[in-house]
Amino acid sequence: MKLPPLDYICPATLTEAIAALAVHGGNAKVIAGGQSLVPMLAFRLAAPSVLVDIGQLPDLKSISISAEGIDFGALVTWRDIECDTRLAQVHPLLAAAIAHVAHYQIRNRGTVGGSMAHADPAAEMPGIAVTCDAMLTIVGPNGTRILRADEFITGGLSTVLEADEILTSIRLPLWKKARRWAFEEFAPRHGDFALAGVAAFYDIDAQGLAYNAHIGVIGVADRPMRLPGVEAVLDGRRIDADVILQAAAAARDAVDPADDIHAEAAYRRDLLGVLLERALARAADITLPEAA
């Protein structure tokens, strides 16, 4: 499990990094925390001839909060998020979700940019980004483009990123104060990739009805996605046990997971419904009669 032969460069500026990627065409690969890429190299599932380490690039390590949103530099780590005490207030859904990512050592190195670019279908950050309509800034030789998270991810472990582009930041829209939300996931061991997960939020209008429902799911398809059918069940309704059960049924219908060695498809489908029930009950602060 040694890495294939490769060169390593560690540019000091974004421009240099992009230039290096462009020179090597498809043979160069960005490395950030290395927590997904290095295992792939060790298994020789990826064999780039050059690694371009973006770890020393300036200005990609901060979390900043402004009127426009919450900006995460691509090199922000899971540990940075955990330690940033502002986030529990300004984006509790994100903070709750990121608590589930991986184990200590990995949390110290893994980055939000790496996670988005890797686009694992069960990863939390892409799930939150899609659920919350995050905007991603991508810089390449021809300049900068900004994409919404669901446009960025194009399939299992695939994104719109070109070989010579770097994802530099992720912007989450500001969080409304009285927003109802919950994150639920289920993994065989804490820190493992989830068998399924749900990120949910909605706002409440003056009549006590839900609007602006966002329901995002991970682990049940080739990529994270929102479930508009479920959101439609919630919008305009008072969130009670009935509505929650309807939403869960809609969620089960909306997904078509695949069998794999960890779980049969039917399990993930049902699990998603259970997680959504639990998430919505917590968001609405009601207790559901337990079915079993």
């Binding site: 040694k2 890495l3 032969p5 493992d192 068998l195 060695i261 960890h262 399990y267 337990e290 079993a292």
Partner: protein
């Protein structure tokens, strides 16, 4: 003669090894580096079953830094076969593994070529260029797939069948009020020691000698095997044991690499190192468990067991390795467990498949047998309307019935009897510890969405395999003591334990004792570490040597001090006479060599025993199980170091819970191993099962050895599946779910619950 006030045997002294390990100064195989060392990587079969038509290594040989590519052709016409170490039955011989594939491969991971290069990375680069033309054959992945024999000489894929038993089971079953038959299975998994295997082989061509470092477990046996294969004298080979990061049965057996790496070193006359990476570990090291059983119990209506019948089916993988049929044989032998069952019949079928070969893993066969039997006991008790604890109490062998013969369950083994113990008392203790009476009302209850269950599992566990162990003690010139023993250290704290034994006898403080172990350079013969034998056998040999050395020291002191032996006492590494004169050990050692050999021979096995109890919750909607409380109570006869025994027990429980919930080597129908990485092969981590308790008792010492010790390394694992699965089954009993097959992953439990619901709906 020594100072009784400060005896170390029986006290929880800190492990001598810990400072070394915790400060990172252990010396493991991958720490080895010598001048001129080359690195090996092994090309392993990517397909399960195929004929090898051609191998092209020319591109690999042309790459920079590649020193050699070894295939079967380089080894010669007769490819050495790895011998059966345990129970060498003739039936198994034709199924033994050649050290390298020549004409056929039979499992994914089977060695085909060895690349030796200036670095491991270069060697791996070269592996990718080796071209192999295969003619692929159908994979055999389950029992009864006999249309594709894996071995040309065989008509089907069954390597061995036998029947064994005692009493008259037919009559017992015919006369019983109640009979129940069930099928159970335990999935294929493995031990996963933290340190993968690793070897450094050094050939001295002038002397014609070979030194292999990184050996362990059964080094003397392995030396004999290697000598035969390399056509060397035994004395031309040293196998050196250094620190070992876990064995659990799988590590240290003779594997293909134990030949291939020394062969490469001799061929190239250069030191060659090989470190098994985790991916190859999961497909190369022995797999284990993978046993199914059809089990029947015959009882009277009052719950008295009259008879037991068990048919054991074991997937042995592609070859029979060194452990022969130990896994299925023990799975059959331990089916009756600690119960009075007068009529027993067992049968064993060991069949071959295109998977990695199977060997022993901590509690081999016992983990499985206890799971099968204890599950069926719960089912029977429920059917008969008898409390599961009462059912066991009624059938446990009582102290008056010991020794209790269990002869004839392994046809090729001699008579054996459960030795000593109070099975009932230990059982009651486990009930008390788990709070059985207080918590019984929770069985199956749904509280806050979680169903509660409490389960029990009783066991007996053999240890202390013979025939013999040796030790040699030397009093060094500085008065310190060197202990050399034929037992192997695999990280279990044996250095400390043997040091304690020597320290008490000789009154030398532990920090003045150095324990050397395992290496073939230390003694003429050693027997190694398996079957929980290192303390029973090695400890007793050290005790024997220490007693002899003490006599020699006394003799010398008597000469030195001019006082008779009867007036001498040994105190704190000196000999003191009644008249107050004294001489230190160092002074005595300076006067002439003080050395003693010790040995312990014994073929009588020890039987530790105990009960495990588990309290779990199951989330019936997700299938998630939480272990709320777990207690393992075991009588080990004598705990030389209670802290070490406790650590062994807790570690074993965690490992066992892994086997219940997580560990699973998954193959597809092409014989591909689907989860050869720790991302997909899940094992418990330190935080997964926080609430575990172990109670070690010393009620009845073993009569078969002077220490009174019984095996203590495996009792923590052998009843984990039994107790835990019973707890899960109790939790889900109201949903009409039965537990018959491991592992209990959330998706599998969810499926059982769903199917039971659908059955109920259809019936309604």
């Amino acid at each position: 003669m020594s100072d009784a006030a400060k005896l170390l045997v029986g006290s929880a002294v800190e492990r001598m090894e810990d400072a070394r390990f915790l400060s990172g100064s252990g010396n493991f195989a991958d720490d080895l580096a010598v001048e001129g060392m080359l690195h090996a990587a092994i090309l392993r079969s990517p397909i399960a079953h195929a004929r090898i038509v051609a191998i092209d290594v020319s591109a690999a040989l042309a790459m920079p830094g590649i020193r050699s590519v070894i295939t079967a052709r380089d080894i010669g016409d007769a490819i050495p076969i790895i011998p059966l170490r345990l129970a060498p039955l003739p039936e198994f011989e034709p199924f033994c593994q050649p050290v390298i594939a020549s004409d056929k491969v039979r499992y994914v991971g089977e060695p085909i070529a060895v690349v030796v290069a200036e670095s491991r990375a270069l060697a791996e680069d070269a592996l990718e260029t080796i071209g192999i033309e295969f003619e692929s054959l159908s994979a055999v992945t389950e029992r009864g797939a006999s249309e594709t024999p894996l071995f040309d000489f065989a008509e089907d894929n069954v390597a061995l069948r036998y029947d064994a038993g005692f009493g008259d089971p037919d009559a017992a079953f015919a006369s019983a009020d109640y009979v129940r038959t069930e099928r159970f299975s335990v999935q294929r998994h493995t031990a996963l020691p933290m340190e993968t295997r690793g070897l450094l082989a050094e050939w001295n061509s002038l002397a014609g000698r070979l030194v292999v470092t990184g050996a362990t477990k059964v080094t003397f046996y392995n030396r004999r095997a290697l000598a035969r294969m390399l056509d060397l004298g035994q004395d031309d080979i040293d196998l050196i044991e250094i620190d070992v990061g876990g064995g659990f049965g799988v590590r240290g057996e003779f594997y293909p690499e134990d030949f291939l790496i020394p062969f490469a070193a001799r061929k190239l006359a250069r030191p060659v190192k090989w470190i098994e990476d985790r991916r190859e570990h999961l497909m190369a090291i022995n797999h284990s468990r993978d046993v199914a059983c059809e089990l029947s119990l015959a009882c009277r209506s009052d719950g008295m067991i009259l008879g037991l019948r068990g048919r054991v089916f074991a997937d042995m993988g592609a070859y029979i390795r060194t452990n022969g049929g130990v896994v299925p044989a023990k799975a059959a032998q331990f089916l009756p467990g600690p119960y009075r069952i007068p009529n027993v019949s067992v049968s064993v079928e060991a069949f071959m498949t295109s998977k990695t070969p199977v060997g022993t893993y901590r509690g081999p066969g016992r983990f499985e047998a206890n799971f099968f039997r204890e599950r069926l006991i719960d089912m029977a008790a429920m059917d008969l309307g008898i409390d599961v604890a009462e059912f066991r109490r009624k059938n446990l062998i009582t102290e008056q019935e010991l020794p209790y013969p269990i002869d004839g369950l392994v046809p090729y083994e001699g008579p054996t009897s459960y030795d000593t113990g109070d099975y009932v008392e230990v059982f009651e203790r486990a009930l008390k510890e788990i709070g059985w009476h207080e918590k019984r009302h929770l069985q199956g209850k749904l509280i806050d969405g979680l169903r509660h269950g409490i389960g029990l599992g009783c066991f007996v566990e053999s240890g202390g395999a013979g025939p013999k162990e040796n030790a040699a003690l030397t009093l060094e010139k500085d008065g310190s003591l060197t202990v050399a023993v034929g037992s192997s250290v695999l990280g279990q704290g044996l250095e400390t334990v043997l040091g304690q034994i020597a320290s008490d006898t000789l009154s030398i403080p532990l920090d003045r004792i150095r324990v050397l172990h395992g290496s073939t350079t230390l003694l003429d013969e050693g027997f190694g570490t398996y079957h929980s034998r290192a303390v029973v056998m090695g400890g007793s040999a050290v005790l024997d040597a220490a007693t002899r050395l003490r006599e020699r020291i006394s003799e010398q002191a008597s000469n030195h001090l001019g006082r008779p032996n009867s007036e001498l006492r040994i105190v704190n590494a000196s000999v003191v006479a009644d008249n107050g004169a004294s001489v230190s050990f160092a002074t005595l050692a300076a006067g002439g060599e003080l050395q003693a050999d010790g040995t312990f021979s014994n073929d009588v096995r020890t039987y530790s025993y105990g009960t495990h109890a588990a309290h779990v919750t199951v989330d019936p909607r997700t299938g998630a199980v939480k272990v709320l409380d777990y207690v393992a109570v075991e009588d080990v006869g004598r705990a030389i170091n209670p802290a070490i025994v406790h650590g062994q027990a807790i570690g074993a429980i965690v490992q066992g819970l892994g086997g219940v919930f997580l560990d699973h080597l998954i193959y597809d129908d092409q014989g591909q191993l689907l989860n050869a990485s720790l991302a997909d092969y899940l094992v418990p981590t330190a935080s997964d099962f926080p609430v575990l308790r172990a109670v070690t008792l010393e009620l009845r010492p073993s009569p078969s050895n002077p220490l009174g010790a019984k095996g203590a390394g495996e009792g923590g694992i052998v009843a984990v599946a039994a107790a835990t699965a019973n707890a899960v089954a109790a939790a889900l009993a109201p949903l009409n779910v039965e537990i018959r097959h491991l592992p209990l992953t959330p998706p599998r439990l969810w499926r059982l619950i769903k199917d039971a619901r659908e059955r109920a709906t259809n019936a309604a």
